[in-house]
């Protein structure tokens, strides 16, 4: 086999080394300052595109879900509006006692009074916008049959009212009539 020997002078070796260094610098500058940032920006943009496309796709299903929910919640919405309408504007102490007085007067029970015992917020998070009011309703004179009818009507007319305590005492002077004290709690919208 024939071996080719290339003899390089010192000057030539220096030039080769200089060219090598130039090559290294070129590659470093190219990847660090040109191609690297370009690729980074491309990757970031691709990530953003994927994210946005996912969002758009999810948004379509979200809109469909909301439309379905709107249909499903129609009954609940109407019912909620009806329950909310049971609490008129203004402080409950301003309108609830007159309402009770008028109600019992319509039931032939006069001199009904209602006073606020206490009020508190509900613990349930779903009822954050509602308050519980406890009322003492006093009927100084009523016969038992009228009382039963009136309470039945009250329980039907006021779905958010719940009688928690009732006390019926016969009047000593007139045993035909009774004196009634009720404690009723109501749920009312916070105003």
């Amino acid at each position: 086999m024939k071996q080719i020997k290339v003899k390089l002078s010192k000057n030539q070796i220096q030039k080769i080394m200089l060219s090598g260094m130039g090559f290294v610098v070129l590659v470093y500058v190219y990847f660090s300052f040109f191609l690297g940032p370009l690729n980074n920006s491309r990757d970031t943009m691709l990530g953003q595109i994927t994210e946005l496309q996912d969002k758009v796709t999810n948004s379509k299903s979200e809109l469909t879900k909301t439309a379905k929910l709107e249909k499903q919640a129609e009954t609940a919405t109407n019912r909620f509006a009806a329950l909310k309408a049971l609490s008129p504007e203004g402080a409950p102490i301003a309108w609830f006692p007159p309402r009770m007085k008028a109600f019992f007067a319509n039931q032939q029970i006069d001199k009904a009074t209602a006073r606020l015992e206490n009020s508190s917020a509900y613990k349930e998070t779903d009822l954050a916008n509602w308050m519980r009011y406890s009322w003492v309703i006093e009927l100084p004179q009523a016969d038992f049959a009228s009382l039963g009818t009136a309470i039945a009507a009250l329980e039907n007319a006021e779905p958010l009212l719940s009688i928690t305590r009732i006390s019926v005492k016969a009047l000593p002077d007139d045993p035909q009539f009774q004196q009634i004290t009720m404690v009723a709690s109501t749920a009312m919208v916070k105003r």
Binding site: G22, M45, I49, T66, G148
Partner: protein
Amino acid sequence: MALHLNLLHEEIFEQRQRQRDPLKIGMMVLGGLGALMLLYYLWNAYKVLEIRSRLSQAEHDWSKVEPKVTSAHKRSAELNGIISTTKVLDGMIDGRFFWAPFLEKLSRCVALNAQLTSIDGTVLDDGKISIVIEGLAAGREPRAAAEELRQLLLEQLGQSYQEVKVEFKALEDLDTIVKIGGANQAMARFGINATFTTQVSKPSPTPGPRMKVRG
């Protein structure tokens, strides 16, 4: 054989040396490589520009949809709130104890020879209803009349409510004599405690029948 003399060998040698200059060759290689790299960079830059236009299109699409999605989110949260609030309120409404039917049942239990002087009813925290009834009973056997009232009450309440307990708290004869239907009759004072619930307590689940597996 003819003798061949190269009189320009030094010039030729120098020319060859110039042509083989490593720096020159290196610069040419670097130039070529640089050109290739530039082409590759330009190709990538073109692709990035294309991606940027896709991104701006996606951003445009999202900006069109975003307000709708935000309002849908809000509406959805609002509707869910309404549904859960209505559910809780309905639970409260359904869980109420209705006093009117109870008073009706009570009125059916009171015979002509008995009189109720006081009724105290309370809905307890555990959902039980506690009733304290006080009254007077008259008859040849006034205690029996009171017992009849207790048993009737137990029967009547048992038809509609669960876990009904009706017990005497007090029962004592009185010295007072009362005239009912022209006849003098003895009297007794009674106190009755009644407790009941409106809902049946849930029984523990019973295991289903064992299935035989035939091999």
